[in-house]
Each structure stands twice: as C-alpha cells, then as structure tokens.
C-alpha cells in the first residue's frame, strides 16, 4: 500500500471559514499575510509527510477559490521538488480541458527534471465552475480532455518535432524541451470517476484515480477497471489511487470534534464550488441521455448530485464529508476495510480542512504517519501460502 499526502494550501482565515461564500470568492477578502502563511504551512506539512514515510506529495488545480487556491499546480509542485528529496511529486492534477495542453506537457517535463525523475501526473477534466474560469464550453469538456491527454502524451514521448491537427487544439510545431527524466514518460493517471473514464484509462494503459466516492462506488469502479483490462488483454495496474480526507486524534471523541469543524462552520469543503455561480453552472448541465452517452456515478463535471452535495445530503458522496476519522486504531480499521473492499493501491489523503488550526492539522498528520501508516503498508500485497506479504 502506498500513501500520498495531498498538499492543499487552504486559505486559513477563520473569518472566511465562517462565511458561506460559494464560488467564486471575491479577491477583496484576500489578506497576504494569511495567504502566505497558508501556503508555507502546506509546504511544511509536505516536508513532514516525507519524513513520516509517505510515498508521494501531491498538488491539484482550482481557480478563484480560497478553499484550494492553487491555480498553477506546477508552481507548487516546483516548490515541493526543492523541499523534498525522496517522495514522488504528484501533479494531481492539471485541468487539461481548460488549459493549453502543451503548456501542461512542458510543466510536467520541468517538474520531472527539477525532481530528478520523481514526477507523476493526473490529467483531469475539472468541475463545472472550472469551465467558467477559463471560458470553456462544458459540453465539449470531455472531448477536449481526451484530445489534450493524447497530445500531452505525444509531446512527452515524440523524439522528433511534430504538428498537431486536432479537433480542439492545433499546433504546427511541437518539440518539447526539457525532455522527461522518466522514459517513456512520468506515470500518468486519469480520472476513474465514471464507467466511461475507467474504460478510457484501461484502453490507453493509464493508472486510475478516484476522488471522494464512497466505498461501494469505488469498489464498483475498480472492478470495472479490472474487467476492462481483462477484456483488452492488458494487465491492470495495482496503483489505483483514491483521494479523500482524514482526521486522526488521540481518541475517537477528539477526532469527532475535529471533524465537526474540519471545513469550517458551513461544513461544505470542496462542495462549496457547487454553490454561488458554480451552482448555477452545475444546474445548467443536464445529465446526458442514457444509455449511449457518458454517465457519471457521482458529483463531477456533468454536474449530477451537486445540489445534494451543497446541502450536505448526498448520501455517501464524500465531498464535504470525512470518511476516515478517529483514533489511530480506528482509522487503521477504516482504511483496511476500505482497501479490502475496493482494492485501491494508493491512499491520497488530505489533512487540511480550513477549519482546523495548524497545530491540529500537524498533530493529525503526525499521528497518521507514526501510528496508522506503518500498520497499513502490507495492504494489497500478494501473499504466499504462509501468509507472508511479498
């Protein structure tokens, strides 16, 4: 079992956390002192995660939003390459549907160079509000994403200059410098948040990343990934990544107290992106007609269930919810059950809800690294007849 620390520089302002501001949040509320400290704290936690034995530290991309003010994941990842020496650096991930794919490829290559071959990348489509951020038609977002991913892989691997005559992207000359340190390219993850995405990842040989879904849906998606790989005659990677948040404290009761204030008083967390203008965008996105069009299992780019999420009533969907919390032994049990039920191979865990103090986050992370992580390493390993992990 591998572990990734989700480095999210949440803008840690108690005043903001007490206001239900939705998306976008006006820049007038920004205080540089708080913003700088928030990012410093996130980076310090990433350094601590490396010391605690995590395998990867990762960053994501969001816009116009204090919950995760990381519009340029490459910049944050670059900082992590200089602060760490062992852990993998996860760009998890660039929103390729709204960005210039060549720029993404160049940044991936730079991070791979800066980290001396430690880069991994999750190429994502984005949530409804993000399509507004960079003025992209949501209805085109899936096709844009798939074309961008193919172009990025080509840019990372082609040894000679080439041009690209796409449907959404057109470049007469592509010739990447710097090149990548990892050949043929750094490990690529794509989203596994829908059956269509799972089949796409399997067909193209990508690793799978699933975010925030409850155990039964994750199990279903991982199984469909394995089935798709078997159907295609390719071996399924064991590195299915699952992203969630976790709270660890000395006792279950103390952990519960932290859970209740984890995302601040509104308790929305990432689901806040589905309020305000983000909610309007989501409401405009109609579910595609079954059965031929892509379907989504939960809250994502097609906007399903966002209303329920915003109310905190979406049963089982983990946006705005903490699925793993408690004393160390409790969290060991929860994660063991989750892994055994789903078969995921990488837990990518966030410890940084905006409602927690720095000390509370650090304590939670430290407890996890010292008392939870070592007891979960064996999960997912194949066992011989004597029951010995291999």
């Amino acid at each position: 079992m591998k572990f990734s620390f989700y480095c999210s520089p949440v803008y840690s302002d108690s005043e903001h956390q007490q206001s239900r501001s939705g998306w976008p949040v006006a820049p007038v509320h920004y205080r540089s002192r708080i913003g700088e400290r928030s990012t410093d704290s996130a980076l310090e936690q990433a350094v601590l995660a490396e010391k605690l034995g995590f395998d990867m530290v990762s960053v994501s991309e969001h816009h116009f939003w204090p919950y995760s003010p990381s519009p340029s994941p490459a910049v944050l990842a670059a900082a992590l390459t200089q602060l760490t020496s062992r852990v993998r650096i996860g760009m998890m991930g660039p929103l390729v549907s709204i960005n210039n794919p060549l720029r993404v490829a160049e940044e991936v290559a730079m991070i791979d160079q800066l980290s001396h071959g430690r880069a991994e990348v999750l190429l994502l489509r984005g949530t409804p509000n993000e399509f507004v951020s960079y003025n992209v038609n949501p209805a085109e977002s899936r096709d844009r994403t798939q074309e961008a991913i193919e172009l990025i892989e080509k840019a990372l691997t082609e040894p000679q200059p080439f041009g690209w005559q796409g449907r959404y992207f057109q470049y007469p000359v592509v010739s990447l410098w710097p090149g990548v340190s990892q050949r043929p390219h750094p490990p690529i993850y794509t989203s596994g948040n829908s059956p269509e995405s799972v089949r796409y990842a399997a067909a193209r040989g990508y690793k799978l990343a699933i975010s925030f879904y409850p155990v039964h849906l994750v199990a279903q998606l991982v199984q469909s990934y394995r089935d798709a790989c078997a159907e295609l005659g390719v071996s399924a990677t064991s590195d299915v990544l699952y992203r969630s948040h976790v709270v660890v404290a000395e006792t279950d009761r103390e952990a519960q107290a932290l859970v209740e204030k984890y995302y601040g008083e509104d308790g929305l967390g990432p689901a806040a992106a589905a309020t305000g203008l983000g909610g309007i965008v989501a409401s405009q996105l109609k579910p595609p007609p079954a059965p031929t069009a892509p379907t989504e299992l939960g809250t994502d780019a097609d906007g399903k269930n966002t209303a329920a999420d915003a109310k905190g009533s979406a049963r089982g969907f983990a946006l705005g919810m903490i699925n793993f919390s408690g004393a160390p032994d409790t969290v060991v049990r929860q994660l063991t059950e989750f892994q055994e039920a789903t078969g995921v191979g990488v837990f990518e865990l966030g410890f940084t809800g905006g409602g927690l103090t720095e000390d509370e986050r650090t304590r939670s992370l430290t407890l996890f690294g010292e008392e939870v992580l070592p007891k979960l390493r064996h999960l997912g390993a194949t066992r011989d007849r004597r029951g010995v992990s291999q």
């Binding site: 074309e147 193919e150 172009l151 080509k154 082609e158 040894p159 000679q160 200059p161 080439f162 041009g163 690209w164 005559q165 796409g166 449907r167 992207f169 007469p172 000359v173």
Partner: protein
C-alpha cells in the same frame, strides 16, 4: 486560415494517354494544380478533395491497374509507375504542381519528387507506406476485401466509406501491388535524405496500418520534413477528418515550410 466545407464542386472525368496507357482522372476546381495519387484501395473522391477544389485545381488520377482500368502487367517497380504518373500529371497540369500521395500512393509520389524535384512545388504524403513496421507481408485479396473497417477510427465513417471494391478489382490490384510493394525501399529512403522538395507528412493518431510512431523515422532521414498528426483519424484521413486534412494540405501548398505561421485573425470581436 481554416478551410471550411463549402459547396461541393462536381468532379468531371477525362483521360490522358501516356506510355500507351489511357489514364483516367477526375478533376474539379480552378487555381494551382493539386495532384492526388491514391492508395492501395484505388481512387475515390473524398470530402477533403471536394473542400480543396474550392481553392485548387484538384486532379485525382486512377493509376494503371487500379479501379476501372485494365490490369497493369507492364510496370515492374514503383519507380517505373512513378515515371508514367509524372508524365500524366505534367500533361494534365500543364506545369509544376503540388503532389499528394496516400499510403501506397505516397511511395509513387515520393519517387516522382525524388526524380523530378524541379517539377514538384510541394509534396504531401498522407499516411505514407514507404517506411513500414516489421510485419510486411504480401497482400491477399481476402484481406483487402475484409479489411475495410480497420482503415477507420470512427465506425460511422467506415459505414459511409466511399471506397468500394469488388473481388475482380481486388484481385487485379493485389497482383500489381504485390509486384510493386517491397518490404523496404532503401534506395528511396536514401533519396529522402537530400530531397529538396518541401514535404509534409500526415499521420492519423489512430492508424493501425501506418502507426503514427513511424513518423519520427522520416524526420530522422530528413530533418526538413514536416510531420502533422491528425487526431482521431486512422488510415483514410481524407474521409475521417476532411476539414483538418484539407486545411493542412491547403496551408502547406500555399505556404510551404512557412505554413507554421498562424495567419488567422484571432480577434473575438472586430
């Protein structure tokens, strides 16, 4: 400039007599001549040709031994066929011309450019079948007749294919192709290294017959070669991505190696 589909220009049929062959061709449009040499399946007017006919004088030849023409028992090599086709093209075009070859036709087009570089304004090789993967094998008639679906990335495009082939024609063409095709044309590969004609190579990103990974090998031979990957298309670019294919050919025919300069007006509101 992005080429947009416009009113379809009707192609007219004519014949030119060269080397004792009556060579049929289809022609549409006006402007600078743009000559196409077809692939192993034979000639077919594709949507990309129709788009290009709005800007160029598009000439589609039916090479001897293909389509409705009699069996061709005289040409023993691709180079010989190239000589005949160049005479035909010069006679029809009247002067220098831009030459495009598809798949097998790219081998013939390449030989024309190598032997007559002064007559070729620009060379476009679509899914070129000169440099191959290691699994070269003689063509069988059954494989030709049943392999239609493998030419396309998009099933709906395969269903609308304009390439039609009956068994007698397939037998005739396979006999000729197996005489002219070689596992490796080292002489042509060597000639590529010094080819002075501006050359554009188009590959479909989903092509299983000519994988796009072969593109690099052409550029290794001649760093002046320009490669363009046509996304979401397989082996019949002219049908699967007609606008994208026509745009690339048009741009290259007009601007040569300077085609990489964006000349579009990017103002959102004038």
């Amino acid at each position: 400039m992005t080429v947009q589909a416009q009113a379809v220009t009707a192609f007219t049929e004519a014949t030119v007599h060269v080397d004792d062959f009556d060579i049929r061709y289809l022609e549409a449009g006006s402007g600078e001549p743009l000559v196409f040499l077809h692939g192993a399946g034979g000639p077919a007017v594709a949507p990309a040709h129709e788009i290009l006919a709005n800007e160029f004088r598009v000439i589609l030849f039916e090479m001897p031994g293909f389509g409705t023409s009699p069996a061709n028992t005289r040409h023993a090599t691709a180079e010989q066929l190239a000589e005949t086709m160049h005479k035909a093209a010069l006679q029809v075009a009247g002067h220098t011309y831009t030459l495009a070859g598809t798949s097998f036709g790219s081998q013939i087009a390449s030989w024309i450019a190598v032997r007559h570089p002064g007559d070729i304004d620009a060379l476009v090789l679509l899914v070129p079948a000169v440099i191959r993967t290691g699994d070269f094998a003689p063509l069988t008639v059954d494989a030709v007749l049943s392999g239609q679906a493998a030419l396309y990335a998009q099933p709906e495009k395969a269903a609308q294919s304009r390439l039609t082939l009956d068994r007698d024609t397939a037998v005739k063409q396979a006999e000729l192709l197996n005489r002219l095709r070689v596992a490796r044309d080292t002489e042509l590969e060597t000639a590529y290294r010094t080819l002075p004609v501006p050359t554009l190579l188009l590959f479909g990103t989903a092509d299983r017959i000519v994988p796009s990974s072969l593109a690099r090998r052409y550029v290794e031979l001649n760093s002046e070669f320009t490669v363009l990957f046509v996304y979401d298309a397989a082996h019949v670019l002219e049908e699967e991505r007609p606008e994208a294919t026509a745009d690339a050919i048009s741009n290259f025919a007009r601007n040569g190696l300077a085609f990489s300069i964006n000349r579009a007006d990017n103002r959102i509101f004038p």
